[in-house]
């Protein structure tokens, strides 16, 4: 029951956020540069910049390895972690993009 309530609250939050502030969706793509670094670029579906948007790099257990923000050019570059990882582009509730490290290729 508590689980259901939590789900409902989460769902309501998503609906409210989506309906109020944003008529656009967050976009993020990452590339393996092939030199031990990874480049991510972000933005929004209306073409607006993601400059300053928070970006997280997490290991396989979900621990944050690295936290940063999108540059003026909506880019973020970091050293590729050893082992499994994922990137979270965090533009606020309901506006997160999660990219699995295995999908980040050259």
């Amino acid at each position: 029951m508590q689980n259901l309530i939590q789900k409902l609250i989460a769902l309501t939050a998503v609906i409210l956020t989506a309906a109020s502030a944003y008529a656009h969706t967050p976009l993020c793509s990452c590339y393996d540069n092939g030199d031990g670094t990874v480049l991510c670029e972000g933005g929004f579906s209306d073409g607006s910049s993601a400059s300053g948007v928070k970006i997280l790099v997490m290991d396989a257990s979900g621990n944050t390895i690295l936290e940063g923000a999108m540059s003026e050019d909506s880019e973020f570059e970091f050293d590729k972690p050893q082992g499994d990882y994922k990137v979270v582009f965090d533009a606020g509730p309901g506006h997160e993009v999660e990219i699995d490290g295995s999908d980040i290729v050259e």
Binding site: L27, S29, E41, D46, V105
Partner: protein
């Protein structure tokens, strides 16, 4: 004197009407099969001069004057990457060109071909179709609705790479950057399968060929709108909208061509 002018203008209007009736259905294709990419990809590009709605005669192309891709504020010259190929039309073989391009970063990629003027014997005129095709990567819009500053061009007011059957597409025709009013734009789709490996059109048509050319005339602001009846690769060719009207002492029809992609919204 005014009588003479009237007669001359009537004669000119008639001759241009006859010419445009004969000139219908030429379309320069700048074709790639997938126009919305989620991941980086090396995309094939084919430049073929044909009659896509009828799937008719394919014309020989000479080395184009320009071929480039515009990505954000960068213009990347691709002319030297073009390789001549023999394209197998449904009825004949013709000289065409191909290349490929590595799309990596998110945004709008606008491919532009400026072909060498083509001499159309049947009408004793030259035709030069300045052609734009769009590819998007990562759903990020970066300027698909901006003009490129071409001699003549159709500026899309709907995303060219994302249109739906039953919806409409609106374009704005420019000549030397200014709206071009009262120009006839012919509308066709590639009415056959495209064999990318074999560089060939299919022998069979996908659907019926309309009884006459499908056209839209640009309004006072150079705008036209078309309701999309069927999924596929649709082309718009606005005839003689360019500023150059003569080549090698003969009339030149400098046309603006734009390709869009339409799918069923399921």
């Amino acid at each position: 004197m005014s009588d003479f002018l009237k007669k001359t203008s009537v004669a000119m209007a008639m001759s241009s009407a006859i010419l445009s009736a004969g000139a219908q259905a030429h379309f320069l294709l700048v074709y790639t099969p997938k126009v919305m990419l989620e991941k980086p990809a090396e995309i094939p590009l084919k430049l073929v001069f044909g009659h896509p709605m009828e799937n008719g005669h394919t014309m020989d192309m000479e080395q184009p004057e320009q071929f480039f891709v515009k990505f954000k504020d960068k213009q990347i010259d691709l002319l030297n990457t073009l390789k001549p190929v023999t394209w197998k039309g449904a009825h004949n073989d013709a000289k065409a060109y191909e290349t490929s391009y590595k799309v990596k970063r998110n945004g709008d990629y606008i491919f532009v071909a400026v072909p060498a003027p083509y001499y159309e014997k049947g009408e004793d005129i030259y035709i030069q179709q300045i052609t734009k095709s769009y590819v998007n990567k990562g759903a990020m819009p970066t300027g698909w609705n901006e003009p490129l500053g071409l001699a003549t061009e159709i500026v899309p007011l709907n995303k060219p790479y994302q249109n739906y059957v039953g919806g409409t597409f609106t374009g704005k025709l420019l000549s030397d950057g200014k709206p071009a009013a009262g120009i006839e734009c012919e509308i066709e789709y590639i009415n056959t399968k495209v064999d990318l490996k074999g560089n060939a059109f299919g022998k069979e048509n996908l659907g019926d060929v309309p009884g006459s050319a499908v056209v839209s005339i640009t309004d006072d602001n150079g705008m036209f709108t078309f309701g999309i009846p069927k999924a596929g690769t649709w082309g718009f060719a606005c005839l003689g909208s360019g500023p150059v009207s003569e080549h090698k002492g003969k009339e030149l029809s400098q046309d603006a061509v734009l390709w869009i992609d339409a799918t069923e919204l399921k």
